[in-house]
């Protein structure tokens, strides 16, 4: 299925949520819709999934095997080729199996075939033995998996997912990401609204940045996230200390190199990777510390901002490095812009992952 949306607009109570959005979903792959809260990500997905009518603009769908585009709104035929998972996903009253088979039942699929497909879904989503459980009593992660399974059994051409891994346990989140990747590899188009920039980096092929009712940035994930304004993304998505660099070896140690800075890391990966470092896991010291921490970088304080009870201190250590310390530490160390300090962190605090794949 191909979807072409042109000049989509939508208001709620006179408040414009979407002003002028145009996009095309044609190639197979994973599309990420990112943007701040209230930017209209969910509304846009609902419009594309024909759950909501737009106030203006045109929507065209071309399904597999059909000649041209159908400019339709609310066609059950087209809707049946798409799946949408709400955030949070909603279970129908009944068992897990009832939920998994609901869409098949609606389509008049035979009982044996329903059973086969729901068994398959239970298996692939690590829900074996869950068939008879009351769906609403499951955990958030399990519910999300059932919701995904409920859509998978229908073999849709396009799947819309609203924050599919928000507030999930890591195991469920990983399983869901894996399933999304599998869907894409089977020729499906997956559109996900997400806040999770790590997820976008890991799995998305194309990114739309929705802000103030319009798509302000779009492109491949590589272009938008890596070649684009990293500081912007970092600030916008609350991401600190993210670097793209190369893994090198020095004797038995692994080093991550970015620009002229390098630090020791623990990883099995090779070549070009991404690294991130949690600002709260870095110690600031006015003298060179001798400790078990493998990395000691000297730098200059370039900026300090009070955030909640913490001070976010930006150092220039060759690259910009954010460090979070308490206000008391900041005061006691007598720091100010231009102070020379050492940033100390463990090799194991640096998270390393490949750009195209999971950690």
């Amino acid at each position: 299925m191909k979807i072409v949306a042109q000049n989509i607009a939508k208001s709620f109570d006179g408040q414009a949520v979407l002003k002028d959005v145009s996009l095309t979903i044609d190639a197979t792959g994973i599309y990420a819709l990112v943007g701040p809260n209230g930017s209209g990500k969910t509304t846009l997905m609902r419009i594309l999934a024909l759950l909501e009518k737009s106030d203006g603009g045109t929507l065209k769908y071309k399904t597999r095997g059909s000649e041209g585009y159908d400019a339709v709104v609310y066609s059950p035929g087209i809707r049946k080729k798409m799946g949408l998972i709400h955030n949070p996903a909603v279970m129908l009253s009944g068992t897990v199996r009832y939920n998994l088979e609901y869409g098949l039942r609606v389509r008049g699929v035979s009982q044996s075939e329903r059973r086969r497909r729901s068994d398959q879904a239970l298996e692939s989503l690590s829900l074996r033995g869950f068939g008879k459980r009351e769906a609403r009593t499951l955990s958030a992660g399990e519910i999300q998996r059932v919701a995904l399974g409920r859509v998978l059994v229908l073999d849709p051409e396009v799947v819309f997912l609203d924050e599919p891994t928000a507030n999930l346990d890591p195991l469920s989140a990983k399983l869901i990401e894996k399933t999304i990747l599998e869907l894409a590899s089977r020729g499906k188009k997956v559109v996900l609204a997400t806040h999770n920039i790590w997820q976008v980096e890991r799995i998305a092929n194309r990114v739309w940045f929705l802000n103030d009712g319009v798509i302000s940035i779009s492109g491949t994930a590589q272009d938008v996230l890596h070649k684009g304004d990293q500081a912007f993304w970092g600030k916008f998505l609350g991401r600190d200390n993210m670097y793209i660099g190369k893994i090198g070896k020095l004797e038995n140690r692994k080093l991550f190199k970015v620009d002229r800075v390098s630090f020791e890391v623990v990883t099995e990966l090779e070549g070009q990777v991404m690294a991130s470092l949690n600002p709260t896991e870095i110690i600031l010291s006015s003298q060179k510390l001798v400790s078990s921490a493998r990395n000691v970088l000297e730098g200059v304080v370039t900026e300090a901002v009070s955030e909640g009870g913490l001070y976010k201190v930006t150092l220039d250590v060759g690259v910009a490095l954010d460090v979070a310390i308490t206000k008391a530490s900041w005061d006691e160390m007598g720091l100010h812009k231009g102070s020379r300090v050492y940033a100390v962190f463990k090799a194991s605090s640096v998270r390393i992952w490949k750009e195209e794949n999971g950690e």
């Binding site: 759950l51 049946k80 799946g83 129908l92 609606v106």
Partner: protein, 231 residues
């Protein structure tokens, strides 16, 4: 002189002897109440679906009106039905006054607002997203309606039971349109009222016991159903 113990013994005796008059009255009561509840629920469910599942101007006013009709006194409905069904009334040609059908009509009218109101709140409590989930999974209009009813099935059952217990205990209105004719339109409540006035306590007590047991039984079922509905 009225002797409570003696009357109670005689009442139990009547029940245990399976006095045909008593059981005919009990059976008619249940039959009439069940019929009116069934008709009312068959009308109330589509009505509440039509009100809740569509957006239209004045929706709140309609829901408010339904809810205020719940407060209409039974005796007023009895009066209206009497006037409509009496020989000289507009529906007099049906010749239904003082028949079980008249009781059923009046009882149905009495509980339609109650059942519709209960069904509306049940349907309103169903999250919008449950409905949307069914739509995204491919449910068409009828499948959607079936799915919605399935979601609120326990609340619908509770509405039915509430209506049933309301009409089972109804006296004045039933007397007005049914006439309390022995062997024909005499139901538990009207019989109890009559026998008590006549000083014929053992029959009154016997029927009172049955009514009490049925009412308590219904209440237990209702609580069980509501427990499931609330889950």
């Amino acid at each position: 002189m009225f002797n409570l113990i003696q009357s109670l013994q005689q009442a139990l005796g009547l029940l245990l002897k399976f006095d045909p008059e008593i059981w005919q009255i009990v059976f008619l009561s249940l039959q009439v109440s069940f019929a009116s509840s069934l008709i009312a629920v068959v009308l109330a469910v589509p009505l509440s679906l039509a009100i809740t599942q569509n957006e239209f101007r004045g929706k709140r006013i309609v829901i408010g009106t339904v809810n205020s009709f719940i407060a209409v006194p039974a005796v007023v409905i009895g009066l209206v039905c009497y006037l409509l069904l009496s020989r000289s009334g507009p529906l007099g040609f049906w010749r239904l006054l003082y028949t079980p059908s008249a009781i059923i009509i009046a009882q149905t009218l009495l509980i339609i607002p109650l059942m519709t109101g209960l069904c509306i709140s049940a349907l309103q409590s169903l999250g919008h997203r449950v409905k949307e989930t069914m739509i995204t999974l491919g449910a068409g209009r009828w499948r959607l309606i079936l799915g919605i009813m399935r979601e609120v099935r326990f609340a619908l059952a509770a509405a039915f039971i509430t209506g049933f217990s309301r009409v089972l205990g109804e006296t004045g209105m039933t007397m007005m349109v049914g006439g309390n004719i022995k062997g024909d339109t005499r139901v538990m409540t009207t019989a109890i009222a009559l026998e008590t006035i006549k000083g014929n306590f053992e029959l009154g007590i016997a029927l009172g016991l049955v009514l009490l047991i049925v009412a308590i039984g219904i209440n237990i079922i209702l609580q069980a159903v509501q427990g499931r509905a609330g889950r």
